[in-house]
C-alpha cells in the first residue's frame, strides 16, 4: 500500500449509492488496487495438496488456471448442490426483495452495488440458472442466466473476497438466505481452480505444518510466552508458568495464535494465564494444537476439517477431560457449529465441569468445549474472583460483538456480564449496531491483509461509526471484543476513523481488575498504562 496516496477519511467517506445506468450483467469487473488481496502462491498451496498451485497475479490478464476450468467449476458446483441443501435452496428462492441490500458493511462503506448481498448471490445464481435450471438453459439472459466466462469467473473471485461471511444479511432475509453460505460455496469453487488469496492460503499452509496460522514453531511459542510472562511478572510480581503438551492435565487450553504473538492479543493471553494461575487450574497448552482459529474454513470444508482434527486428537493424546477455547470469533463459529458434526461423537472426553465452581456446562455437554468467557462468567457469578473494578476506571469501555459468536451462537450476555463485572464504565453502542445486528470489523473471513486496506476501512466504517457515537457521547476510549481478528483489525480501523479509541480483549480487562494473591502493589494495567491514581509511578 502506497501510504502517500492513501485517501483521507474525508475522501473515503464520499460514497455514492446510486447504481450505474447499465445493468450489472453488462458492467464488467474492475479489479481495483486497495480492494483485492494477492493471489495464493505456489508455496502455500503445494504443501496442502490444493489444485493448480502456481504463482499468479490478479491484475494480470492470464490467471493461469486449468484448461478445463469450466468443466471443473460446473462439476464441482453440481456436486456442492447435491451436498448442501442450503446451497440449492439459496440458489432457488431469493425473491430479490432487497431487504439485505443496505445491511452489508462493505456496501454501506463502499457503495459498490455488487456488494449488496442480493447481487453477491446473483453473481453465482446467474451461473446456476444457466447450467442447472431448465428455464435458464432455454431462456438465457431473460431468465437471469449468464454464461460462465473468464470475466464472470474473475468477478466471482473479486467479490467472494469482499464478503466477510458475517451473516448480517441473513438475519434480515425473510427466508434466511445466508450469503456467508453462498460465499463459502463460491470459495470452494474457486479453490478447485487455485484461485485463493495468499492471506488465507499462507496461514492455512502454516497451520497444517506447525499447528498455527502464524507458523510459530514449538520453541518459538515457548519463547513468546516467556516474553510476555516477563511482562506479567513486572506488572504483578507473579511468575506464571504454563505447561506445554503436558499429559494428564484436566483441561486443554486452545487459543487463537494471534494472542500468542502480538499485542493487544498477548495482553488477553496474559490475563487468561494470570486468571488460571490464581485459580490453580490444571490445564495445559499444546504446541501442536496451537490454533483455535481456522483459516481452512475460508478455503474448503475439507481443509477446515483437516486443520481442526488436531484439537480433538491432541485432547485424546494428552488425556485431558475437556477443552477450553479462547476469545476468537470465527473460531467459535467453527467450534460451535461444525466441530461436533466433523469429529463427534466425542466419547473420549468428559462432560465439562468447572473444577472451581462445580458448574456443569450443560450446553456444551456433547462437544466438550467451553468458551473461556463462559468459564469466567461462571466464576464471577459464583463469587470466586477478587475484583477491584476501580482499576479499570481509566477506561470507558464499549463492546464489539464479533459476527460469528453473535449470529452463529447468540453470545451476547456472557461477555457483557464479564465486562460489567470488571469495569465501572460500560456503554453499549446503538441497538442497530450490536448483538445480533452487530457490524463486522471489516476484516473477517481472512480479509485482514494489508493490500486490501481500502476494503477493510470501508467495510469497517459502520462499526467505526457506531464506536464514534459512544466515543463522542460518553467518552468511550476502549473497544472490547472477544476475537483475535478484531484485536488485529480494529486498531488500524480506530486509528483511521476514531482516533483515541484503543482495542482490548475481554480477559485483559478481567486481569486488570483482579486482585491476585501475593501480587505486588499494582501501578499499571496489563499493557503498562498507569492505573487510576498511579500516574507517574513506574513498575520496578
Amino acid at each position: 500500500m502506497a501510504k502517500a496516496k492513501f485517501p483521507t477519511p474525508e475522501e473515503l467517506s464520499k460514497i455514492s449509492y446510486t447504481p450505474p445506468q447499465k445493468g450489472w450483467m453488462d458492467t464488467p469487473v474492475d479489479i481495483r488496487p486497495g480492494i483485492f488481496c494477492w493471489g495464493a502462491k505456489e508455496k502455500s498451496l503445494k504443501p496442502i495438496g490444493f489444485p493448480n498451485a502456481r504463482d499468479w497475479n490478479p491484475t494480470d490478464e492470464d490467471w493461469k488456471i486449468q484448461e478445463n476450468w469450466k468443466e471443473i467449476f460446473l462439476e464441482t458446483m453440481g456436486d456442492l448442490l447435491k451436498k448442501y441443501r442450503s446451497f440449492r435452496l439459496f440458489m432457488d428462492i431469493c425473491v430479490r426483495c432487497g431487504a439485505c441490500a443496505d445491511k452489508c458493511h462493505y456496501f454501506i462503506g463502499g457503495g459498490d452495488p455488487k456488494n449488496m448481498p442480493v447481487l453477491r448471490g446473483e453473481l453465482l445464481r446467474s451461473i446456476y440458472r444457466r447450467y442447472f435450471t431448465a428455464s435458464g438453459k432455454a431462456l438465457g439472459k431473460i431468465a437471469g442466466a449468464r454464461e460462465l466466462t473468464m470475466d464472470v469467473l474473475k468477478e466471482l473471485w473479486y467479490y467472494a473476497y469482499q464478503c466477510s461471511e458475517c451473516r448480517r444479511c441473513s438475519l434480515f432475509c425473510p427466508y434466511g438466505i445466508d450469503t456467508a453460505e453462498i460465499t463459502i460455496m463460491a470459495r470452494e469453487l474457486l479453490n478447485r481452480l487455485g484461485l485463493n488469496i495468499e492471506w488465507i492460503a499462507g496461514p492455512v499452509a502454516n497451520c497444517y505444518r506447525t499447528g498455527n496460522h502464524l507458523g510459530l514453531q514449538p520453541h518459538t511459542i515457548r519463547d513468546s510466552f516467556d516474553m510476555f510472562l516477563d511482562d506479567v511478572e513486572t506488572i504483578t510480581g507473579i511468575r506464571v508458568a504454563p505447561t506445554f503438551n503436558r499429559k494428564g492435565a484436566e483441561i486443554l487450553l486452545v487459543i487463537p495464535s494471534g494472542d500468542m504473538f502480538a499485542d493487544p492479543g498477548t495482553f488477553t493471553t496474559m490475563g487468561e494465564l494470570l486468571l488460571f494461575n490464581e485459580l490453580g487450574l490444571d490445564y495445559t497448552i499444546s504446541t501442536y494444537a496451537s490454533e483455535g482459529g481456522n483459516f481452512g474454513f475460508f478455503t474448503t470444508n475439507e481443509m477446515a476439517k483437516r486443520l481442526h482434527t488436531k484439537i480433538y486428537s491432541e485432547a485424546k493424546r494428552l488425556g485431558v477431560k475437556w477443552i477450553l477455547g479462547g476469545e476468537c470469533g470465527h473460531m467459535w463459529r467453527v467450534w460451535h457449529q461444525y466441530h461436533n458434526t466433523w469429529f463427534g461423537p466425542i466419547d473420549f472426553l468428559e462432560e465439562p465441569v468447572s473444577p472451581i465452581t462445580g458448574t456443569k456446562f450443560e450446553n456444551a455437554k456433547s462437544n466438550k468445549t467451553v468458551h473461556i468467557i463462559e468459564f469466567t462468567a461462571d466464576l464471577i457469578r459464583n463469587g470466586k474472583l477478587n475484583i477491584d473494578k476501580s482499576r479499570n476506571d481509566h477506561l470507558k469501555v464499549t463492546f464489539h460483538d464479533s459476527c460469528n459468536p453473535a449470529r452463529g451462537m447468540g453470545f451476547f450476555e456472557e461477555p457483557r456480564y464479564v465486562i460489567k463485572s470488571v469495569c465501572n464504565n460500560f456503554y453499549d453502542m446503538p441497538d442497530n449496531t450490536i448483538r445480533e445486528q452487530t457490524f463486522c470489523c471489516g476484516s473477517g473471513s481472512g480479509l485482514n491483509a494489508g493490500e486490501n486496506m481500502e476494503t477493510r476501512l470501508r467495510g469497517g466504517l459502520p462499526r467505526a461509526n457506531a464506536v464514534r457515537y459512544v466515543h463522542e457521547k460518553f467518552g468511550v476510549n476502549m473497544l472490547a471484543n472477544i476475537c483475535a481478528i478484531d484485536r488485529a483489525a480494529l486498531p488500524p480501523l480506530m486509528d483511521y476513523w476514531v482516533p483515541g479509541v484503543r482495542v482490548t480483549g475481554t480477559h485483559e480487562l478481567v486481569a486488570n481488575a483482579m486482585v491476585f494473591k501475593g501480587e505486588k502493589k499494582r501501578v499499571t494495567d496489563m499493557r503498562g498504562d498507569p492505573l487510576p491514581g498511579m500516574e507517574g509511578k513506574e513498575n520496578v
Binding site: P19, R85, N245
Partner: protein
C-alpha cells in the same frame, strides 16, 4: 428490459385467452384442458422441487441466531429468535411464516456527511408484504365458494367480514382493495428505488404483472363487466367433480382470468415463487441452536488427510526437546 418484457408477456397472454375464446371459440381448451394441465403441473412441480431440495442433505446445523443463546440458567435466553428446542424452532418458524419476523427487523441506512450513519426502523416492506400475502390468502379462500357445494360456513363468514363496510353493490371487498394496493406498492418500489430496480430481473416483474392482471381481471369481472356467476360455478364445480362442463355465455373476461391463473400455476414451481415452500426448509431458520448439546450428523462426513502429531513431532523433535517440551519419542 425485464420490465417491458414481462409487461408485454402478460399482455400477450391475456390476448391469447381473449382471441382463443372470443374468436376461435376454444372454450373447452381454456375452460377445462388448460386449467387441468396447469393444476397438475403445479402439484407435480411443487412436489418435485421440494423433493429436489430434500434430496440434498443438511450437512451442518447452521442457524442464524437472532437473540441470546441458552447457556446458564441465570442468563435469560431468547426462545424464539434463538431456539434451543424443537418447540422453539416451531415457534420461530411460525413467526417467520405467519408474521414475517425477519422482515420485521428491517432497517433503513441513513448516510450523512461526516460520515454519520444511522439505522432507522422501516416497516413498509414488511407491511406491504404481509398485506399482499394475507389478502391473497383471503381472496383464495373466498374462491372456495366456487369449488364447494354447500359453501362452508367459514367462507361465508370470511366474505361477510371482508365486505364489512357494505359499500357498493356488489359489496366491495376490503381484501380486493388492499391486494391491488399491495401489489402496486411491491411493483412501484421495484421501479422507483434505484437499488431495487438495479437488482430486479424479468423474473421479478413477470409474477407481479401476472398477479396484478389476475387481480384486475377479477375485480373487473366482479364490479364492472359482470359475468354469469351461475355459469361460472357450474364450470368450476364441473372441474372439481371431474365432470367438466362448458356453460354458454359466461363472458370472455372470465376466461382471461382463468387462463392467467393457469399460467401462474404453471409458472409457480419454475420460479422464485417457490419461496413459499422453501422458507420451511431454510437451514438458518429451521434448526435449533444446540450444536454443543446434541450432535448434528452429516451423512457425507468422511475421513480427511491430516498432519498427525507424530509427523509434527518428527518435524520439530529436537526443537521441542531443547525448549523443554515433552515428546513421545526421545
Amino acid at each position: 428490459m425485464g420490465l417491458l418484457f414481462s409487461f408485454f408477456s402478460v399482455c400477450v397472454l391475456a390476448l391469447i385467452a381473449f382471441v382463443g375464446v372470443k374468436t376461435v371459440n376454444l372454450h373447452f381448451l381454456f375452460g377445462v384442458v388448460i386449467p387441468y394441465v396447469a393444476f397438475i403441473v403445479f402439484v407435480v412441480g411443487l412436489i418435485y422441487r421440494v423433493m429436489k431440495w430434500g434430496s440434498s442433505p443438511v450437512p451442518f446445523r447452521i442457524p442464524t441466531t437472532g437473540g441470546q443463546e441458552k447457556s446458564f440458567p441465570w442468563v435469560k435466553y431468547s426462545k424464539l429468535d434463538n431456539p434451543f428446542t424443537t418447540l422453539g424452532v416451531i415457534g420461530r418458524m411460525a413467526l417467520e411464516v405467519l408474521l414475517f419476523r425477519s422482515l420485521f427487523r428491517n432497517t433503513k441506512t441513513d448516510y450523512r456527511e461526516g460520515p454519520k450513519i444511522a439505522y432507522g426502523s422501516t416497516k413498509w416492506l414488511w407491511l406491504g408484504g404481509l398485506a399482499f400475502h394475507y389478502t391473497f390468502l383471503v381472496i383464495l379462500l373466498r374462491h372456495l365458494r366456487l369449488f364447494t357445494e354447500p359453501v362452508p360456513y367459514f367462507v361465508t363468514l370470511l366474505e361477510s367480514l371482508d365486505g364489512f363496510f357494505q359499500v357498493a353493490a356488489p359489496v366491495l371487498y376490503l381484501s380486493d382493495i388492499i391486494f391491488l394496493a399491495a401489489v402496486s406498492y411491491l411493483f412501484l418500489r421495484r421501479v422507483i428505488l434505484p437499488q431495487i430496480r438495479y437488482i430486479s430481473l424479468a423474473a421479478d416483474y413477470f409474477p407481479l404483472f401476472l398477479i396484478l392482471a389476475i387481480g384486475l381481471s377479477g375485480v373487473l369481472m366482479r364490479y364492472f363487466y359482470k359475468v354469469d356467476i351461475v355459469g361460472v360455478k357450474q364450470l368450476t364445480m364441473g372441474l372439481v367433480s371431474l365432470h367438466p362442463v362448458i356453460p354458454q355465455g359466461i363472458g370472455v373476461i372470465f376466461y382471461i382470468h382463468l387462463f392467467l391463473i393457469s399460467i401462474l400455476f404453471v409458472y409457480f414451481p419454475l420460479s422464485k415463487l417457490m419461496h413459499m415452500a422453501g422458507v420451511f426448509m431454510s437451514p438458518t431458520r429451521n434448526l435449533a441452536n444446540n450444536n454443543r448439546f446434541i450432535r448434528h450428523v452429516n451423512p457425507w462426513n468422511y475421513p480427511v488427510h491430516i498432519h498427525t502429531y507424530e509427523e509434527y513431532e518428527d518435524d520439530f523433535r529436537d526443537k521441542m526437546k531443547a525448549a523443554g517440551i515433552p515428546v513421545e519419542k526421545e
